[in-house]
Structure formats: C-alpha cells, structure tokens
Amino acid sequence: MSELSSLDNDQPLLVAEGLAKNYGRLAACRDVSFALYPGEVLAIVGESGSGKSTLLQLLSAQLAPSAGHVAYRMRDGVLRDLAELGEAERRFLFRTDWGFVHQDPAQGLRMGVSAGANVGERLMAVGWNHYGRIRDTASTWLERVEIDVGRIDDAPKTYSGGMRQRLQIARNLVTEPRLVFMDEPTGGLDVSVQARLLDLMRNLVSELGLAAIVVTHDLAVARLLSHRVMVMKGGRVIETGLTDQVLDDPREPYTQLLVSSILPP
C-alpha cells in the first residue's frame, strides 16, 4: 500500500526553517519551522490576514522569504534548498512533482480551452506527445474526478463551479505529483458541492499517498482532510498538533475561540 509505506517513511519531504516575510514594517509571516513527511496532509488554519496564504506562497517558492529557508527532497532523495534550485529543477517541480490548487479555478485552468486540453497540457509539458495516450489519460482523470467524459471537449467556462474545481484537481494530479498545495480549495462552493469535493480529495490523497499542504479558514475542511494542523495568528504559528487533538482539545485562547465559533451542524 503506497499510503502505508509513505506514512512510515522517516525522511521529510519538505522542511521549513525560520521562515519569515516582511512587507515594509509589516511582518506577514514570522519564524515558521516544521517538517512535512511523505503522505502527510497538513492544514494551515487561521482567519484572513493571519499570514496563512503568505506562508503557502513561501513554501511553494512563489515568494522569496525575508529570512529562513525551505528545503525539498527531490526525486533523487537529496534535500535541496528551494532558493538554490536551477531553472530546470524549478520547472520540474512546478510542472510535475508539485500541484497547486487555487481557490478560484480560473487561476489554475485555461478557461477557454477544452477540459481534455487542460489536463493534457500538463502531460505535454513533461514530454508526452502521443495524442491518443494523452486523450485516454485525460479521460481516465475526468472519470476519477467524476466529470462526465462526454464533456471532455467543452471548455471549463461552460462548467459549474464544482466541476471547475474538480477539473483543476485532475489537471494537477495527472502528472502524479508528490506534493500538492491547496489554497482554500472549497472556498467559493455551495455546501453540498463542498462535501462531494472534500470526499473526492480525501480519497485521492489517500489512494495516491500524496503529501498536501491545505490552507483553509474552515475547520471542518481541516478535520476531514488533514492529519496535522497549524493554527496561525498575526503571522505566527500559535498552536500545532494532530488535527483531532487541536480541534477537540484546543489549548491556546485563539484556537479555543476558533473552535467555539463553529455553528453546530
């Protein structure tokens, strides 16, 4: 079982040390350190302005830190500082080994081209060139994310919000990444659509043994998807631990406030 072997793996996939980001006098992110292991899902929770999205951008090399560094274990097993990667290695990470699921699918998809092309494009970027195979793989992935294969030639601008988000997930997972970053993946969706998407993501993450870092302000998303959680406030990580432990037995005043603010179902 990939999930089992990857969870028992003792070497971290990604290591953050003393990460900080300042915008002028504003410290958006301060002194964040943690290690993420293969197959592990980490949720970063906190309200708007807590620094969680900044942290996600630092971790995924979209933003350069003011201090500290992020290291990632490349497929050759060597842990490398992201700031020191060459252009080819960076491209490999962005196009193959990582996925990035945006809150707004329009940011992660090309809205005007067909769904099949949206998925196939990631494959072509890593050198696939057989049209039939690309189309077959794209169809398989549409099925896996529960999109009717009959819609493969339609552009995502004709899709509903939930379908777009599922298509974005297919586009990201088709290259079999080892790490997926997700920024409020269920953010703009109706509650019923959210439940379906969460269930789908939960299954895919465990079947593929993916590691994931999920930014969310929704504690229910954290509970359903993640193994571990980091609570952020004012740019700092104020509490961290097993997800059910932090949510059922929160220790910090702010975490207690967050947990007590959930409306009972």
């Binding site: 969870l7 432990q245 037995d249």
Partner: protein
C-alpha cells in the same frame, strides 16, 4: 512491562480561556494497566472523567503530566509525549477506538466504511469487504443497506456500523466508549460475543459501559475513576 497499556499519574485539566481562564481539573493520578486478553472497565458517575481518560489513551486529548505507555510494534511508546506521526502510526496499527457515534464520511458506502481500517493496513479490498459483510451480518444490518452511506441510518444501525468498523481490525488494543448504549438485547449479546472473541485473541481492552449486566459479562477488572477525581 508486559501490559499493553500502562498509565502512571496521568493528569488532565482544561483551561477555558473564553471563560476568563477558568481551570477545570478533570482527572489526576490516573494509574492502571491493561494486559493482553483483558477487558478493564472504567466505572464512575457521569462527569467523573471516564471518556476523557479513554480519549487521552487514544491521543485525542492531550495529557498534561504523567505517562501513557502503549506497547507498539514490541516497544513501549509514551503517548503523552509522542510526536503526531507516532500517534498516527499507533492508531493505524495498535489502537482502535469505538466511539459512541459514527463520524460518517458523506457518500461512502456502509460496507466500505467498515472495511476501511483493514484496507489502510494493506488487506486486499475483496477480502476486507468480505470480512466487513460477515460482521455486518452478525450485527443484523440487512444486506440491502450495505451499499448505502450510513448517514441515513437510524441511531442504533449507525452504532452497529461503528462497532463493525471498530471490531474488524486485528489491532492489539481496543478502546470502547459505551459500545452497547443504544442497542437492543440481541445486538448487545453480539457485542458481548465479539468482546469475548477479542479476549481469546489477546486483545487488551478498556471500556466504558453503563449497563450493569453487560459490565458483569465483559469486565475482567473494574477501575473506579472516582479515585482519580481532581479536587477543584
């Protein structure tokens, strides 16, 4: 230690920051053990801290001081200080927890809800489903319901699905939080049988049961939780 579980002076206090930092002591000086093949029943009135102790042994509640020794893969791990990854590993291959309520995942078929603990431990899907079906049948869940998600079931049916999910695995430790609470006599008897079978397989269990008759049938030892009362 040869015990599967050994608590020594475990202590738990809740600090309620939203209520002006009120300290709510739950238990202190919790010390007992459970050997392989033994069912230890926690007794005491509601609010004595029985469920909190069970949650501490599962790593769901943090332990403020003391020790919670768990025999995991032949070695003793102190759950009170274990890393999250270790706790997850312990939950996957050592400790099972049967809560009072099923935390159902929407849209997953009952048979798969039950089979899941086996599948994550590497048992083939077919075999896992077969064993899941066997347990559901014993617990009188009609076969026509197996493909439906349990979220639509009655309370008693959900609890039986939960019990099947808890008892399906071959984990050496089981924690049972009122496993018979909303069951009829026939299904209570099935649960008593399942517990007896686990004992013959050497599983160590810690249980909470309010029903005196059931307690009498399953308990090898009773630990009185009122002796761990934390004076406020």
């Amino acid at each position: 230690m040869t015990a599967m579980i050994e608590l020594a002076n475990a202590e738990k206090t809740f600090t309620m920051h939203l209520q002006g930092g009120v300290e709510l002591p739950v238990v202190r000086g919790v010390s007992f053990h459970a050997d392989p093949g033994e069912c230890v029943v926690l007794s005491g009135p509601s609010g004595a801290g029985k469920s909190s102790i069970l949650k501490m042994i599962f790593g769901n509640y943090r332990c403020d001081s003391g020790r919670i020794g768990i025999r995991h893969h032949g070695k003793v791990v102190d759950l009170a200080t274990a890393e999250p990854r270790q706790v997850l590993s312990i939950r996957r291959s050592t400790i099972g927890y049967v809560s009072q309520f099923l935390r159902a995942v929407p849209r997953v078929a009952t048979i798969d809800v039950v089979a899941e603990p086996l599948i994550v431990n590497g048992v083939a899907r077919e075999e896992a489903r077969e064993r899941a079906g066997g347990l559901l049948r014993r617990l009188n869940i009609p076969e026509r319901l197996w493909t439906l998600p349990p979220s639509t079931f009655s309370g008693g049916e959900q609890q039986r699905v939960n019990i099947a999910r808890g008892f399906i695995s071959d984990l050496p430790i089981l924690l049972l939080d009122e496993p018979t609470a909303s069951l009829d006599a026939a299904n209570r008897a099935v649960v008593v049988e399942l517990i007896a079978e686990k004992k013959t397989k050497g599983v160590a269990m810690v249980a909470i049961v309010h029903d005196d008759e059931i307690r009498h049938l399953i308990a090898d030892r009773i630990v009185d939780v009122t002796s761990f009362a934390a004076a406020a």
